[in-house]
């Protein structure tokens, strides 16, 4: 039995199809990321899996429990960190955590023990007795995630867990999530490809409500990605040379004064020699490993972030 399974999961808002027939299978203990730009349908998918939104077509099950027919069985198994930080502002950390823990049926003792552990990991212990309305965005974000974990759920949904955090705070959360790997089934959504790359066992690339690519980070980069790229830093590049390059290679891009050449097979020496022969000065040149961003651009023809 899969921890999370969706069957042609679809959600329409009037004429807009936010999620369009998604089929996912997430195994127990797996960390699966849905990577996609804003508006791709990630949050809508999570909301259907949490029984907050009814699918217009299809369905999903969590550890075998159907989200439409048995929502309360599902709710007992899951922990959710919503995309928007939602805390009770006039409660302190302990009280916020106890609320979720106890509504999930944990004893006071158990709640206390788990809260202590989470507050320490999340670096919130020092301020744990302050009302959270006085917290910074990053602190609230960390508590938001801790609240998803306090009930020790079997399946964890993290909707953009590091949205808007500074790199340092982001890294701390990544490390904590990485520690949970294997112990919990985690479905994470993100539009940061580094995040998906760093954390995931498998990644689903989602765009306009559809999963357009699926696999491990490595698989996505090698199997699905046919293009290779090379970056060259040059001087006195003429329009003539560019036109010539365009006729030979699939795509050219100018990034910060540097030239990026895409093609199925790229020969480093061939390109450098050609540029020299045309009198172009080459300062530097390097073949590039494709990134998930490249994969995304390749598949959807657009960028992850605008």
């Amino acid at each position: 039995m899969n921890a999370v399974q969706t069957f042609k999961l679809t959600r329409e808002f009037d004429s807009l199809v936010a999620v369009n027939g998604i089929d996912l299978e997430i195994k127990k203990g797996e960390l699966f990321s849905l990577l996609g730009p804003n508006g791709a349908g990630k949050t809508t998918t999570i909301r259907m899996l949490c029984c907050l939104l009814k699918p217009t077509k299809g369905t999903a099950s969590i550890l075998g429990y159907d989200v439409i027919k048995t929502p309360f069985a599902v709710k007992r198994l899951i922990g959710v960190s919503p995309q928007d930080t939602i805390l009770s502002e006039r409660l302190n950390c302990w009280e916020n955590l106890a609320l979720i823990g106890k509504v999930h049926g944990l004893s006071s003792k158990e709640v206390k023990r788990r809260s202590k552990e989470l507050l320490e990991t999340m670096g919130l212990m020092e301020r744990s007795k302050d009302q959270v309305r006085k917290f910074s965005g990053g602190m609230k974000r960390r508590l938001n995630i801790a609240m998803a974990l306090v009930s020790d759920p079997q399946v964890l949904f993290l909707d953009e867990p590091t949205l808007g955090l500074d790199p340092q705070a982001r890294r701390a959360i990544w490390e904590y999530i990485a520690e949970l790997k294997g112990k919990k089934t985690i479905l994470l959504t993100t539009h940061y490809m580094e995040e998906a790359d760093f954390l995931s066992d498998r990644i689903g690339i989602i765009d306009e409500g559809r999963v357009v690519a699926l696999g491990t980070s490595q698989e996505l980069k090698t199997n699905l990605f046919e293009m290779h790229s090379m970056v060259v830093s040059t001087e006195n590049l003429t329009a003539e040379v560019i036109a010539d390059l365009l006729s030979k290679y699939s795509r050219l891009e100018k990034v910060k004064g540097r030239l990026k050449i895409y093609h199925k097979d790229l020969n480093f020496k061939e390109i450098v020699d050609y540029l020299h022969s045309r009198g172009v000065t080459v300062y530097s040149a390097a073949l590039e490993q494709p990134t998930l961003e490249d994969v995304f651009i390749q598949i959807t023809g657009k960028k992850l972030r605008d």
Partner: protein, 359 residues
């Protein structure tokens, strides 16, 4: 006990918010102070009452003497023996109203039978009749409640009601004050829905009734304290409690629960705190036909029957009766009615709330 956990959170969110708490508890206080200043400040001048004594018995004159002992009433002398004379004086404005004691009054009191006393007043001035009706009823029930021989026991009996106007208007003011809980309760729910807190909690195993109970819970202390403020400040500033204060409290408590229940329903229907303002679409018309502001007696029969179905008029009439001295048995039906409404409103709230848990 999921409701208790969410309820505790709601309590803390409200009680740690000084502005909100100030409003919840300051409102009844301000309400009562203004009301008592307006209604109870000056000594109300007595109402000139004519009496037609068709019975001319020992009992009827004892009863008249009793009425005469009340500060609020100024008996018109002499007592009429013919109704036509009194009617003439009423039309000419020499008296504001007159009471007809029919022949057979003594017989009926001794046999402990029902007695109909008729109070005639000028159509143009219904309020005065209503006020006096209550007084006469109170005096009458005191009078008739005493076992014969009447003449000995009744000497010097006075109405305990110090200020008629305060006793008459107080229940309506207090019930209207409690009706405002409709909007406050609705706003708290709608605010939490708008902020996403409810959606967050909908991913936990909490059930619809857990939420309805959890959101009613913080209003119970508010309700108790407001009722105590209404009664306490009212009594300090002119309200006379002749009957059982506990019953009056119970009635106010039940109508407060009804208001919270309506608040739960409105809170389940609206999406944002600003939309919760629609509660006033319920509050104002319901208050208008509840007798809180004007008498319902003379409204069209259709409106009167709607008013009679709603709980508010029952709360106002019953609490007024109890404060003026009626016994528990006189208000028991009103209490059942209020309790029934409380149950119906909360069940409706739960059903409506359940529908909002998935969209």
């Amino acid at each position: 006990m999921k409701f208790w956990e969410i309820g505790k959170r709601n309590l803390k969110e409200i009680y740690r918010n000084p502005v909100l708490l100030g409003f919840l508890l300051g409102m009844p206080l301000a309400f009562m102070l203004v009301f008592c200043a307006a209604a109870g400040g000056g000594q109300a001048s007595p109402i000139a009452l004519g009496i037609v004594d068709e019975d001319r018995s020992q009992d009827s004159s004892a009863f008249i003497q009793n009425l005469g002992g009340i500060e609020a009433i100024e008996l018109n002398e002499p007592i009429y023996s013919e109704k036509s004379q009194a009617q003439e004086d009423l039309e000419d404005g020499r008296i504001s109203l007159y009471l007809l004691i029919p022949s057979g009054f003594e017989e009926a009191t001794r046999a402990q039978q029902a007695i109909n006393l008729e109070l005639f007043y000028k159509e143009a001035d219904p309020m005065i009749g209503l006020q006096l009706k209550l007084i006469i009823e109170a005096v009458g029930s005191e009078f008739l409640g005493v076992a014969p021989p009447l003449n000995v026991e009744l000497k010097g009996t006075e109405s305990k009601i110090k200020n008629l106007a305060v006793n008459f208007y107080f229940p309506g003011i207090a019930v209207f004050g409690l009706m405002i809980l409709i909007s406050t309760a609705a706003e708290i729910i709608a605010g939490d829905r708008e902020k996403g807190f409810l959606a967050r909690m909908f991913t936990t195993p909490a059930r619809p009734w857990d939420f309805i109970l959890a959101y009613s819970l913080p209003f119970i202390p508010v309700l108790i304290v407001s009722t105590l403020i209404y009664l306490g400040v009212g009594m300090a500033l002119g309200l006379t409690v002749v009957g059982n204060l506990g019953y009056a409290f119970l009635i106010f408590f039940l109508i407060g629960l009804c208001s919270i229940g309506i608040g739960m329903i409105v809170g389940s229907l609206v999406k944002s705190e600003s939309q919760a303002g629609v509660s006033w679409i319920f509050i104002v018309p319901m208050a208008m036909i509840s007798g809180a502001w004007f008498s319902v007696e003379r409204m069209p029969s259709a409106i009167k029957s709607v008013a009679g179905v709603l709980p508010f008029i029952h709360a106002i009439d019953a609490s007024r009766a109890v404060l003026n001295g009626s016994s528990f048995s006189a208000i028991i039906l009103d209490l059942y009615w209020l309790a029934g409404w409380t149950v119906v409103l909360f069940v409706t709230g739960i059903i409506l709330f359940r529908r909002t848990m998935v969209s």
